[in-house]
């Protein structure tokens, strides 16, 4: 599927006639160039790359200076990694006027990397094998305040919450509702948001809000949950 198809599908942002300002953070210049070539053609995709950075300090400088709507963030970066960028730009993320949103874009799909940046505040996680079309789509979703889950990330989240079924959890916040679980399961099975909406007879907006709720719960889940999740994977 080429990006032209996406335009016809109406998933691209240019169709709505607006542009999203994006900063690329990745320590591989080749990769930045590739992404730039893939999505940077503003007239076609609606994405405007306003800055690039190769390490944590540079990223913070560029993000502060340009105030983009979305930052495409690599997980492994010199100077502390993507998590460090997230930690040090927490204020900009919660800015009510012009929030900066982070979309993790990494070649790694190791569970600890994925969950690490999501807990750090990233609004989504996609792997570098993603197509240009899907990436543009993901950028627009994140810019609109929604969460973007790759199937693999959905799998990790389901896995993380799966064990919480057996013993009762004291906080409702930590529990995924049946519906959220269903949505995640369909994401994990490779369905697009639109397909999920059709399958469950709900609107795409509802799917997005379910996914956002999952993300919120993931960031806020208590220490107990996190410890168990980590222990189950022998991360601690």
């Amino acid at each position: 599927m080429s990006s032209e198809d996406a335009q016809q599908d109406g998933t691209g942002g240019a169709a709505e006639g607006r542009t999203v300002r994006v900063v690329l953070v990745d320590d591989h210049r080749m990769f930045r160039t590739g992404v730039q070539a893939e999505i940077g053609e503003t007239g076609r995709t609606g994405v405007e790359v306003v800055g690039e950075a190769a390490d944590v300090d540079q990223a913070l400088t560029v993000i502060t200076a340009t105030r983009p709507e979305v930052v495409l963030l690599d997980v492994h970066l010199p100077g502390g990694g993507g998590v460090e960028v997230l930690r040090r730009s927490a204020a900009m993320m919660t800015d009510a006027e012009r929030p900066v949103r982070f979309l993790a874009l990494s070649v790694s799909d190791a569970a600890e990397d994925v969950i690490g940046v999501i807990r750090g505040g990233a609004r989504g996680y996609v792997t570098k094998t993603i197509t240009g079309t899907d990436l543009v789509d993901a950028i627009f979703r994140v810019a609109d305040g929604d969460a973007v889950f790759s199937p693999r990330l959905a799998g990790f989240v389901l896995d993380a919450f799966a064990s919480s079924d057996a013993p009762p959890i004291d906080e409702d916040l930590d529990r995924l509702t049946q519906r959220e679980r269903e949505v995640l399961r369909l994401i994990a099975r490779g369905y697009a948001y639109k397909e999920i909406a059709k399958q469950l007879f709900i609107s795409v907006k509802t799917v997005e809000s379910h996914v956002s709720a999952v993300l919120r719960k993931l960031q806020l889940s208590n220490r107990h949950e996190l410890t168990r999740w980590a222990a189950a994977r022998r991360l601690v």
Binding site: M1, S108, D109, A110, T129, P151, R152, A154, G155, L158, D159, A162, R185, A188, R189, G190, Y191, A192, K194, E195, K198, Q199
Partner: protein
């Protein structure tokens, strides 16, 4: 070091090996030594039994302490060799030797004490008149130096053999004892020179000198120590880099070469790239796996799904994305489910692979195990398939039903086919 000390270990003198490398350097033996390893090292070098050498030393010691001087000189100038290391493997009586290696620690203490007592006896036999008074301080100094040197040897040996790592207390106590002995000895000499009255001022002056030297040499020494540790760090890093480089060379570069050669065949290129990606990923993110493919049969569901997906992916050159939630051991019904899933993956790769990656999702939830295989191909209509084509009916649906599970096939509204396989775990039923 390659030749002598190991043979000395055995305690007898074998004929010199004609294959020995020509360079026979003298090393002190790090293995099975009593004091400094001098006697053992010499014995190995000369091809004599170690006891002979020791007797000669003792005899020389009786003659005006010549032996002690000689021994000390050897100890000082001859470097410690790794006598025991290469000798360890061929020895059949490995356990015995290991026992021996640990024992000398006590033996060494006894040897030191015996040396002290012996030398004091010898010293008291010689009436040296004027010099007599200096003997005890000198002996003390000697003992202190011996202790400290011994300690240095130990730490060096520990570096080679990586066996050291003692709790830091013993070496420190030994070092302190050595320093104390030397200090007492030196003070003794000063006192004997009749300057008891000036002891205070002498000590003060000595202290001042020591402090001065420390001030002058301190920064230099610290810098040197820092440089040393930095250099060691760099070396470790270089080793790691070399390992990574070796792996990248062995796998990635070869794959890239293959890809260049097959540049005209996109399917083959994709297959090679996917296989390499998977392998590299396993190497990078699985600490124990190290990227080695294990040919054993998978024992759990997650492994089985991943293995099937990898095989189908390699075989058909269609990327398969696998997401597994939860895991459980593989039992008989699950085995059947895995075979059905594999068949579904093959179908998806064959007929639906043009539309993009095939997505496989497996979930263990309580007793139920669910697997879905989804492609984005042209879709599938079971009723349109001729009745004599048994692939789907038998391999997937029939197999699942025979084992008490269900299989659903349908065309997704957006295009593509979804195969859903659901089955109950047998093991869980037994648990209940």
């Amino acid at each position: 070091m390659t030749s002598a000390p190991p043979r000395a270990e055995t305690g007898y003198a074998p004929a010199p090996d004609p294959d020995d490398p020509p360079v026979r350097k003298l090393y002190r033996s790090a293995d099975g030594r009593l004091l400094g390893g001098v006697a053992r090292g010499l014995a190995g070098h000369l091809g004599l039994p170690v006891s002979w050498v020791r007797i000669v030393f003792v005899a020389l010691f009786m003659a005006d302490g010549m032996g002690a001087l000689l021994y000390a000189a050897f100890w000082f100038f001859v470097p410690l060799g790794v006598g025991g290391v290469e000798h360890r493997q061929p020895a059949p009586a490995d356990g015995r030797r290991r026992l021996l290696r640990h024992r000398p620690d006590k033996g060494q203490v006894f040897a030191l004490i015996a040396l002290l007592i012996g030398s004091s006896i010898v010293a008291s036999r010689f009436q040296l008149g004027q010099a007599d008074g200096y003997l005890w301080p000198v002996l003390l100094i000697g003992a202190g130096v011996a202790l400290v040197w011994r300690q240095a040897d130990n730490s060096r040996r520990a570096q080679w053999l990586e066996l050291g790592r003692r709790k830091g207390l013993l070496p420190m106590v030994r070092g302190a004892a050595g320093v104390l002995l030397v200090g007492v000895g030196v003070t003794g000499i000063v006192v004997l020179q009749g300057s008891v009255r000036h002891l205070g001022s002498v000590l003060q002056a000595a202290l001042a000198v020591v402090v001065g030297i420390a001030l002058l040499a301190g920064p230099y020494l610290v810098r040197m120590a820092q440089d040393l540790s930095e250099e060691r760090l760099m070396r470790i890093r270089a080793q790691e880099r070399a390992e990574v480089a070796a792996h990248v060379h062995d796998s990635v570069l070869h794959t890239l070469t293959l890809i260049q050669r097959n540049a005209d065949d996109p399917r083959e290129v994709a297959r090679l790239a996917r296989a390499q990606e998977r392998e590299l990923r396993a190497w990078l993110y699985k600490p124990e796996g190290r990227g080695k493919e294990e040919d054993e049969e998978p024992a759990t569901l997650a492994e089985a799904v991943r293995k099937s997906a990898a095989e189908v992916e390699d075989h058909h050159g269609v990327p398969i994305e696998v997401v597994v939630v939860g895991d459980c051991p593989l039992d008989e019904p699950l085995g059947a489910q895995m075979q059905a899933a594999r068949e579904a993956m093959v179908n998806a790769a064959k007929y639906g692979g043009e539309g993009g990656a095939v997505q496989v999702f497996a979930e263990v939830e309580g007793r139920t195990v669910f697997v879905s295989v989804r492609d984005r191909g042209p879709g599938f209509d079971l009723d349109a398939v001729p009745g004599d084509r048994m692939g789907v009916r038998e391999s997937i649906i029939g197999r699942m039903e025979r084992h008490g599970g269900t299989a659903r096939l349908r065309s997704a509204p957006e295009g593509g086919t979804v195969v859903e396989l659901e089955i109950e775990r047998a093991a869980a039923e037994r648990e209940i």
